[in-house]
């Protein structure tokens, strides 16, 4: 019956079907060839969509350009290209805007997005908890204590900050946040060397966060209202506070953290089954735990110091990349979280500036507004059984 039905349809539908099949097998072949050399082309990746990494890469490129092109001053795209390629723009102010403001901001957003996405993935895998995020270990609490001490505690410097003046205040803030974050992470690392189970580490991290949060609340309670405003501004998060001179420092931390995370893909994959199984697969749990905490520390402390406690990206991006790539394998997820994190951060940066308008929204408002519906959509699609 079906054979009879197939024959007359030689033209039209079945030809189209043939072509679709050929195209599919061609795509499948090239895909396999493309990925085999980095080790993600095998049968163990069935159901995954590694090609979406390429799509994310393209999206990242577009968003980088968009971030450079959009802003409160409208600069023609060809002028921006000229400036980027080292040429002279029609107005000197344009060169200034692009190189001194937009470029550092764009780079900061991309780096911060990568750092938060990857550290979120590390935390979710290590704690085997979909609600884990980069700050569960208490980094942001440590950083906020540093900032709170500076803003609320010291008279003269706090005053300078309030006036919104200058570099010295910003730098001090960054240093304070960085010191707080680094101190916290050192403490957590010391604990990580000693504890046996991830749950203990998680609870210690959370408790530490509450403890420090209480200290901050105490400082806030006795602080002057204007100072509180300055502190709150810091908690909103921002990609614009990093100067070209500071950028290499942030970049160095993020690149180091990402490289360390890349070296951990195998232990991370083993940890998908839980710590006991990971150990039985020959993974040195202690080394893996220290590596994961250290990578998270490098990534998150630097970002929090320079950009404030940016919420949401760290928890949402891992889910987003799992949903997009259709895989739990970290050889896909790590680059995926890296690219998706940068994309989400760059989107948030554009929207926060509200192009064509002088209003700037708090970054943390944007990340959650933008991200929450996307993550819900991805999770619901997944729940419907789409691998």
């Amino acid at each position: 019956m079906s054979q009879l039905a197939d024959k007359p349809a030689l033209s039209g539908a079945s030809l189209r079907g043939d072509w679709t099949r050929t195209r599919h097998s061609l795509t499948a072949q090239s895909e396999r060839y493309l990925w085999t050399w980095i080790g993600i082309g095998g049968r163990e990746f069935a159901g995954a969509r590694p090609l979406l990494l390429v799509a994310l890469f393209v999206a990242l490129g577009l968003l980088l350009l968009l971030n450079l092109a959009l802003g409160s001053a409208s600069i023609p795209p060809e002028q921006i290209l000229t400036i980027l390629l080292g040429g002279e723009a029609d107005h000197l102010s344009w060169t200034n805007i692009v190189l001194k403001f937009r470029l550092p901001k764009t780079a900061t957003a991309a780096l911060a997005g990568m750092a938060l996405g990857v550290s979120g993935l590390l935390m979710q895998t290590y704690f085997r908890n979909p609600l884990a995020e980069p700050f569960v270990l208490g980094v942001s609490s440590g950083a906020s204590l540093g900032v709170a001490l500076v803003v609320l505690g010291s008279g003269a410097v706090g005053g300078a900050l309030l006036a919104g003046l200058g570099l010295a205040g910003d730098l001090l803030l960054t240093t304070a946040a960085g010191a707080g974050a680094a101190l916290t992470m050192t403490l957590v690392l010391l604990v990580a060397v000693r504890v046996r189970s991830s749950v203990t580490l998680l609870i210690l991290g959370l408790m530490f966060g509450y403890f420090v949060g209480a200290l901050v609340s105490l400082l806030l309670y006795f602080a002057l209202p204007e100072r509180i405003q300055a502190y709150i501004n810091w908690t909103f998060g921002s990609f614009s506070g990093v100067t070209s001179a500071q950028l290499p420092i942030l970049a160095a931390f993020v690149v180091a953290g990402l490289l360390l995370a890349a070296a951990l893909v195998k232990p991370l994959n083993g940890l998908l089954l839980g710590e006991d199984y990971a150990r039985s697969l020959g993974i040195n749990l202690k080394r893996a735990r220290i590596g994961i905490v250290l990578a998270t520390a490098l990534l998150v402390s630097a970002v929090t110091a320079f950009c404030g406690p940016i919420a949401f990206i760290g928890i949402a991006v891992p889910h987003l990349s799992r949903g997009l790539l259709g895989s739990s394998d970290h050889r896909l997820l790590l680059p995926g979280a890296c690219l998706a994190g940068a994309c989400v951060a760059l989107c948030a940066a554009i929207i926060a500036e509200l192009p064509g308008n002088n209003l700037v929204l708090p970054l943390n408002v944007v990340t959650a507004f933008l991200g929450a519906p996307v993550v819900m959509l991805v999770l619901l699609r997944q729940a419907r059984g789409k691998l």
Binding site: G39, R43, A46, G47, G274, N284
Partner: protein, 335 residues
């Protein structure tokens, strides 16, 4: 020949701060052999999991040594140990975006490079492991779509793909239904015999262990007794180990039963399928069985063309359609 795993004067348990060690076993001289399925049995809390975790190198022994192919487990690197010993645990892994094949492929970890890249040889080992558990049809399925039994099967395949001589399984059948439990145990038995693996499986399923294991390690407060299942039953050590109030191990039937509460014994006459089930029902209802015809006798009879149950208590005989009716009458009479 050195056995794949043996222990020397092993003491297991927990170190407690400010108190003496909690010893769950000491002076253990155990030995796992190739090609044998060994069942680890013992009442709850006796330390089966602790023993397994000590044998796997997860816990440090309180004293003594665990030797893997003759070398002390304490001196083996994690990666090296993983090539000798694999584990299957009670808990099933959390949901992951992965196919069955991907899960089994994780078992190749000890053999792959730092990225976990699979060579054609690795792929053939994974395929072989899937074949061994008869799970080829699960390879392309998403883990989220599989049942507990299917996932446990894949985890066993994962342990096989690890190509370790020794396999330790901690209650792998705990979450499975009876047919799946039987299937899993016979699978383990087949693997031990056909692939010459040394397999140790802890279980609470005494009946199944008696039927499928080549040897038993019977764990009791006094230590670990080792032997063929039948020997341990016949010399009474099995029933001794599991003795509890009101529960009795029936040597003849090879299982645990509630002690009948001192009631009168009932004789069920006949040797058919129906009478066998009547005996079960009588036991289940808490009566003792009497091998000789006594004051209470149940028998199968014909009422015209229709088969019925005849119940004689002392001299009064009643007729019943169903087993339930007989039990009701018995309970009513013997209150």
């Amino acid at each position: 020949m050195t056995p794949p795993l043996e222990t020397r004067a092993l003491a297991i348990g927990y170190r407690r701060r400010g108190k003496s060690d909690l010893r769950l076993g000491h002076g253990l001289e155990l030995r796992l052999q190739r090609g044998k399925l060994v069942g680890l049995l013992g009442p709850n809390g006796i330390g089966k999991s602790t023993l397994l975790r000590t044998l796997a190198g997860v816990r440090k022994p309180l004293a003594g040594q665990v030797l893997i192919s003759g070398s002390d487990i304490a001196n083996l690197k994690p990666g090296e140990l993983a090539r000798h010993l694999s584990m299957v645990l009670t808990a099933l892994p959390p949901p992951m975006l992965m196919t069955g094949y991907g899960l089994v492929a994780l078992g190749r970890h000890p053999h792959t490079d730092w990225l976990g890249r699979m060579t054609p040889e690795d792929h053939s080992k994974v395929a072989a492991a899937l074949r061994a558990v008869k799970g080829e049809d699960l390879a392309e399925q998403a883990l989220a779509e599989l049942s507990d039994g299917q996932r446990q099967k894949l985890l066993i395949a994962r342990a096989l793909a690890q190509e370790s001589q020794i396999m330790l399984l901690d209650e792998p059948t705990a979450y499975l239904d009876l047919p799946r439990r039987i299937e899993t145990m016979s699978l383990l038995k087949r693997l031990a015999h056909s692939q010459q693996r040394a397999i140790l499986v802890s279980t609470h399923d005494l009946d199944l262990a008696l039927r499928s294991c080549d040897r038993l390690w019977l764990m009791s407060p006094a230590g670990i007794t080792v032997g063929a299942p039948e020997d341990l039953v016949l010399d009474g050590r099995l029933s001794e180990t599991f003795r509890a109030d009101g529960v009795r191990f029936d040597q003849r039937r090879g299982g645990f039963f509630l002690d009948p509460p001192g009631g009168r014994a009932i004789h069920v006459a006949g040797d058919s399928e129906e009478t066998a089930w009547m005996r079960r029902a009588v036991r289940r209802a808490g009566f003792a069985l009497n091998n000789e015809p006594g004051k209470i006798v149940v028998m199968r009879a014909q009422n015209g063309r229709e088969p019925i149950w005849k119940l004689r208590i002392n001299e009064s005989v009643t007729k019943h359609q169903t087993i339930e009716a007989v039990l009701n009458r018995l309970e009513g009479q013997l209150e």
